[in-house]
């Protein structure tokens, strides 16, 4: 007896009953495949890319490179998308228009997308759930200092600048390079740069001496 439901063709679906949205996506994908508009293997590749290859390590390398190379830093502020591509990270759908905003002893920058979830995918990967939440999107604008406090960031009397990402422009924060890292290699510096520090919900912490000597020995 033939099974009209063809349970075997989807790569990620199990035999368990599908939830309503899962049914919808499966139906949509099967129609688009029939119409020749999507290739299931390409979808697998895209998912793999965004789950494993593109992520905040890309952004950390960009920031570390800018910290040690003054010329690159200049190019990064002039044309972020181009400078980021220089390091081998193509813009993709959410990276065509990017701007790097610099944290200084006087200014702390915070990035949000108030309308949806715009985010610099090519350097940070896909956004964490909290970034897309109505709570974060509202509070970043209404009460950025309170929000930062909840994230454990005390900005003191610094000016806080909130950048609202959109389809026109996506922002990446350049965190302050911590004191005590003079002479560090780019790789060592990149290790310090976290995803949240490039969103502005964290700062790059001054390293412990032990961590440095260990990474030196390993490198």
């Amino acid at each position: 007896m033939s099974d009209m439901h063809d349970h075997d063709h989807g790569h990620d679906y199990h035999n368990a009953p599908l939830s309503e949205p899962a049914q919808r996506v499966k139906a949509l994908e099967s129609l688009l495949v029939e119409k020749g508009l999507v290739d299931p293997q390409l979808l697998d590749q895209l998912i793999d890319t965004y789950e494993r290859k593109i992520g905040p390590r890309n952004g950390a390398r960009v920031i570390a490179h800018a910290w040690v190379d003054g010329e690159y830093r200049k190019r990064l502020f002039e044309n972020a998308a181009k400078a980021i591509e220089e390091l081998g990270y193509p813009p993709g759908p959410q990276g065509e228009h990017m701007m790097v905003v610099e944290n200084t002893p006087r200014v702390h920058n915070l990035v949000v997308c108030t309308l949806c979830s715009c985010y610099p995918w090519s350097v940070l990967g896909l956004p964490p759930v909290w970034y897309k939440s109505p709570a974060y999107r509202a509070r970043a604008v209404i009460d950025p200092r309170g929000l930062l406090k909840e994230f454990g960031v005390d900005v003191g009397d610094k000016e806080v600048r909130v950048w609202d990402s959109s389809s026109e422009m996506r922002y990446v924060v350049m965190p302050e390079r911590p004191a005590g890292t003079e002479g560090w290699s780019e790789d060592e510096l990149a290790e310090l740069v976290t995803r949240d520090s490039m969103i502005g919900t964290a700062v790059v912490k001054a390293p412990a001496r032990r961590a440095r000597s260990e990474s030196r020995a390993a490198g």
Binding site: S117, K132, S167
Partner: protein, 117 residues
């Protein structure tokens, strides 16, 4: 602390990320379909973005959105189906008809197979 299934832990370890990017496989599929269609020129990303903004605004306006953002990919899927319908690529009726074929779980305790209604 809510215990995590072994499957979840293994998946998280394999991905080497502190938080899973997609909480269910369909979210990843919906994400990839939108990106693939944009890359193949079916629509510019800005159009999808606008559709997503509309979905989010409506859901939040109606109080349907989870404050923590857990239902984000429901909005994403809504934005995708809405845009594909508006562009005449996949009509709403066509989609519903296909869901009826590929989607519904078989009724429990029913030994018959291949039954389409």
């Amino acid at each position: 602390m809510s215990p995590k299934s072994t499957e979840e832990l293994v998946a998280a370890a394999r991905a080497r990320v502190p938080e899973a990017i997609f909480s269910e496989p369909w979210e990843a599929r919906a994400f990839a379909v939108a990106v693939a269609l944009c890359e193949s020129g079916c629509f510019p990303w800005a159009e999808f973005q606008q559709s997503l903004i509309d979905e989010i605004r409506e859901a939040e306006g109606a109080g349907r959105a989870a404050p923590g953002g857990a239902d984000y990919y429901h909005r994403w899927l809504g934005a995708l189906t809405r845009l594909l319908a508006a562009k005449g690529i996949v009509g709403a009726a066509e989609l519903e008809a296909r869901i009826a074929v590929v989607g519904p779980p078989p009724p429990p305790q029913d030994p018959r197979q291949g039954q389409t209604k």
